[in-house]
Amino acid sequence: MNKKTKDLIENIVLAAIFLVLIQTFIEDFAVIRGWSWNTRQLLILTGFFFDIFFTAEFLIRFYAAMAEGQVRDYLVLRRGWIDLLASVPLLLLSSGPSALAVIIGGGAIGGAAGILNVLKVVKAVRIARILRLLRVLKIFKQIKNADSEMAQRHISKIATLGVSVFVFILLISSIFSQMLNMPSAEKKNERVIIDIIMAYSGGETGGAEMQSDLLIVKEDGLTVFTRFDNAYYSDNFGFEDYQYAEYLNYQFFFDTREIEKIQSKDNIVYFIIILVLVLAYTLFYSPHFAITVSDPIHVMRRGLVEKSYNFEVKIDPDYKNDDVFLLAKDYNNIYLPMKDRSLAEEEEIDADSLELKMDDIRKLF
């Protein structure tokens, strides 16, 4: 593959990363703002296609690395593990099941038969979604935020560490909350179900109306209570927006949109935290690293290699005791004057020190 094609593909990947970050934000924003289910379905499908794209990207890169015998190099040094975690698990556990639910019609309440199976994976979907945050790091892989390769690697490493730790803590805490059976909407709804059934047994039908989260109550498949009409359910409720429960011959549908909103709000906050973290590394730590490490080294290296290069290293008084600047001080005060004297005494001119090279004039002949 030539460089031009390679650059084009890398630019497409970069554009896709930017777009998917926007899509991730909009998907959560749509939940908070209560956008219609049709619009949210579209966003779910868009996310699914992005995950297919990134999974394909990972598999191609992985295959290429395997063909060159550089799997370890790709996964560890070139941080292919970010490509892996931000693609395959998301496709299998998050966007894939969600898209499947949309495609098989799991949106409408009481719609398809497969709905209950879909609902079972909703929790896994929610947990896996956290991995989407890792995509921010993919930008770091693509964009050169510093001139020096060393600076680029250090900034990427520290950003990867910070973001990964944050994401994995979120992931582990989500898994633990599920495992430890923490207080949840389901538990609260169990209490509601008992109250409703007791009320119906006593001949009271107004109890269901009092429970604002309760959407529908069915007895032996017949609707005995509904809060909204079918058109409203169809327009506003997706498979993630309600919870289903059965008790004796009663079926209950609960509104979980408020819980979804809280989760989406949390997702956006996490997303912003990560973006700010990465921006902070890029805007504050990256220049600091350049000023105190890579730039002085670059200047000294040019001074050592190029005869006519006589710029001193600028020593920041705040960091004058850093090893790099102690070395730079010696470079300024010992090496450069010595080089200058040596050049002044040199009898023969060195071809390397001239701007004009033989290669420049070969075509003249």
């Binding site: 001139d147 350049a290 000023i291 890579s294 730039d295 002085p296 670059h298 200047v299 040019r302 006519s308 006589n310 710029f311 001193e312 290293v313 600028k314 300024n332 005060n333 450069l336 004057p337 200058d340 004297r341 050049l343 002044a344 005494e345 040199e346 009898e347 001119i349 060195d350 071809a351 020190s353 001239l354 701007e355 004009l356 090279k357 033989m358 420049d360 004039i361 003249l364 002949f365």
Partner: protein, 314 residues
């Protein structure tokens, strides 16, 4: 000096070759004389590789390298002079020579003095070493390096100012001092008109350091030949080629002239400073401070210039 007769055919071939060398983008950031020096060094270093091609029938068939070299250098000088002479005329015409009146206590005709200064410098341009050393002077004046430093020297009123006004006893204002320094720097390379022939050209910052006895003798000889120039100007110009370590009585203007021409010898105004590097003039002056004995600079003068450069981010 190259005064060899060149036939028209050789001149056309040499001119075409030199024109293409001078047009090379690698030399774009160089001044005319810096570019010339680069080409001369290039020809010297690559003589062995260039000779087979340049001695072929397409160029200078059957000529020795010395003959080819002479043709190329003569044409190179001619090519450089096409742009250099108007530049020098322009620089001299902008220097206000009324300070000659203060120094000589006599009225001076600016136009005729300009013309005579021009002629002196043109004569100097026939000598290789003069061309090399003149490069720094022209750059320093053209890019207002002298002007900006002198302005700060007068504003600060410290060591250099004291040396100029009290020790050298120049009753000159800031502008006159700048003009005197400019003329001193332009005349400085003329010492090579008197220096022994066969001096090896070195790619040093300031050419050669001469014994002050020799520089004084040259100055007195020039005073006889060009009485329209004040004695102080010639003394300062020629003594700027001597070492302050050897002769502590060298004029302040001579010491400054020595520093400025050396500083601007390889100065490239368009060069982009690397991030993490200090400024060009501050870097140069600091290196010069460490090597002041080697070059014969006045360390106190360098210290003050260093502070000026540092404070102004030059």
């Amino acid at each position: 000096m190259y005064q060899m007769e060149i036939n028209e055919s050789d001149k056309i071939k040499a001119s075409s070759f030199i024109q293409r060398l001078t047009a090379n983008p690698a030399l774009k950031s160089y001044s005319l004389l810096q570019r010339e020096e680069q080409i001369m060094q290039f020809l010297t270093v690559n003589a062995r590789q260039l000779f087979p091609t340049l001695s072929s029938p397409a160029f200078f068939a059957g000529r020795s390298w010395d003959e080819i070299w002479q043709v190329l250098i003569a044409v190179l000088y001619e090519t450089t002079n096409e742009d250099l002479l108007p530049e020098i005329r322009n620089i001299i015409s902008k220097i206000d020579l009324t300070f000659f009146t203060f120094l000589k206590n006599d009225s001076v005709k600016q136009e005729s003095v300009n013309k005579m200064l021009n002629e002196m410098i043109l004569r100097g341009l026939k000598v290789d070493q003069t061309r090399r050393v003149l490069s720094g002077a022209l750059t320093a004046i053209k890019y207002d390096i002298v002007k900006k430093f002198i302005r700060e020297v007068y504003r600060r009123n410290k060591y250099i100012h004291f040396e100029l006004i009290k020790v050298e006893r120049l009753k000159l204002g800031e502008k006159e001092a700048e003009n005197m320094l400019s003329v001193t720097m332009l005349l400085r390379p003329l010492i090579y008109l008197f220096a022994p022939q066969g001096t090896v050209m070195k790619n040093t910052a300031n050419g050669h350091v001469f014994l002050s006895q020799f520089t004084k003798n040259v100055a007195h000889s020039m005073i006889q030949k060009a009485p329209f120039v004040p004695e102080q100007v010639f003394l300062s110009a020629m003594n700027s080629n001597a070492s302050f370590a050897e002769d502590r009585s060298i004029e302040a203007t001579a010491r400054m002239s020595n520093i400025f021409t050396a500083m601007c010898r390889n100065y490239k105004p368009e060069i982009k400073k690397d991030r993490g590097a200090d400024t060009a003039q501050k870097s140069w002056i600091n290196v010069a401070r460490k090597n002041y004995r080697f070059y014969g600079y006045d360390i106190k003068m360098l210290d003050e210039l260093y502070n000026i450069a540092a404070d102004n981010s030059w």
